[in-house]
Amino acid sequence: MTWGVEGLVVRLGATRAVDGVDLVAEPGRVVAVVGGDGAGKTTLLRALVGGVRPTAGQVRAPERCRTGFMPTAAGVWRDLTVDQNIDFVAAAYGVTGPLLDRRRAALFEVTGLGAARSRLGSQLSGGMRQKLAFGLATLHRPELLVLDEPTTGVDPLSRGDLWRMISRSAYDGAAVVLSTTYLDEAERAAHVLVLADGRPLLAGTPTEVVRATPGTVVRLDGEMPGITTWRRGHERHGWLPPDGPAGTSTDSGQGVAGVLPTKVEPDLEDAVIAASLAREAVDA
């Protein structure tokens, strides 16, 4: 069974927070929704779990009791202990008895939370709190697992642990949809959906997304009039639109002395920047 949204539009007040988005979530696959603050990631994810009503389009999701949702920077009750958090969520989903014991033990084993089981949610470190939130969202082994920025602000070590837990859920057969601002994380997903201003910017496997980069990405030795550039370490990359102005083709040699642009193979970071610039050009 696959889940997802088709032609989704969500209007919040005067804003089209999500504006014409398609997304397919399949068992055993991780989909990464990428975008900055205000791109529409949270609204899309909330629509998928039934937390916000679509203005238009279709949402296909299992019943709420077979869906797991980890909201951004929350999902743990701060004034309950680790054990009480687990008991509360287990009761809500009807996970009881030996099954609950096994799942609690499994959670403690992968997270190391067992040593902190009497600690309040508010006393956990950021990484531990996110791991507990993940454990709570998956306690009932949902078919559709939706995670809103599970690794934002989490340090690289805890992020590695969380990614192992996410991998495990996909392995267990869950369809996983997560949002992130980290492109290196998106690169590890089977499918990537890049959002900007509520609209899809790029979508596909990481390889397909890179292949769909609009225009041409070039490397320059310095700034060049008419070309938008960005730094990649000591290099400067630039973007030439597909129907770029005459004289900016990669081999025309018309650059300012010493700054001839050379075509480069874009990576996911370049692809998203180029697509954002293409969108800006169209919107302008």
Binding site: G35, D37, L157, G160, R164, A170, Y171
Partner: protein
Amino acid sequence: MPETTTLPLVQVRGATRRFGDVLAVDDVDLDVHAGEVVGLLGANGAGKTTLLRMLLGLLPVDAGEVAVLGHAPSRDVRRRIGYVPQNLGLYQDLTVEQNLEFVAGCYDAPVPPLPPGLAALAHRTVASIGLGWQRRLAFVAALAHSPELLVLDEPTSGVDPLARARLWDTVRHQAEQGAGVLITTHYMQEAEQCDRLVLMVDGRAVASGDEATLIGTTRAVQVRTDRWQDAFAALADANLPVVLDGTAVRVADTPEPTVRAALATADVTAEIAEVPATLEEAMAAYAKTGIAKAQ
């Protein structure tokens, strides 16, 4: 290239800071030169923020020496530093313009002009503008007094790649103009933007150099197979740190024969390749070594 012959803007030698029983910063050396962008990496609790607070004069050292712009940290030195804290340090109830006026007033600096985009939001309260704009404003505010040293604590968290690229343009421009930059980040792709990285584990600076130096000899093993679920199960059952990588699986910091043996027990045929570790995987390896040493 960074100038390394002049006196560093930041010179830390043997800095140590204890909180009760916890050694938060343990005998750390750190240099930041003019024109250099230095990235400070490490897990939460590794001591990065404590170190930054010592440089800014917000915390004294228990032992060791800290010199910033040639002096011990003080209010006078602080006036020559631009600082963007993790929470940005903006006043949510003031407008964009009022925030800049206030900060410029504190530093006796002229109020800087607002860049395009932000100018249209001049009369909006900070609370009412998006996080990406708030970050740009924090940068404009921190640069108003033309600081010689920039200290940035996770400056680009939560922004989209284009906005992040624009913030980095500003950072590198400052370095080219001769400022030194010290930046903390959890975002591994930002590491490539730095001239040099310093990795902290449990209060100590355990490695320093560019990304390739930090990754060093740490390797990962990538496993491609049509039966990724079976491969995943076999590797997880062998207690290896396996993660999903697209439709392949990946095991960090584990010898290839160990991976091969685990797959053989489950009769999984796969394309197995040893690849360089990511910086994140290398950091996990450093942290493991640190824990091993402590025991």
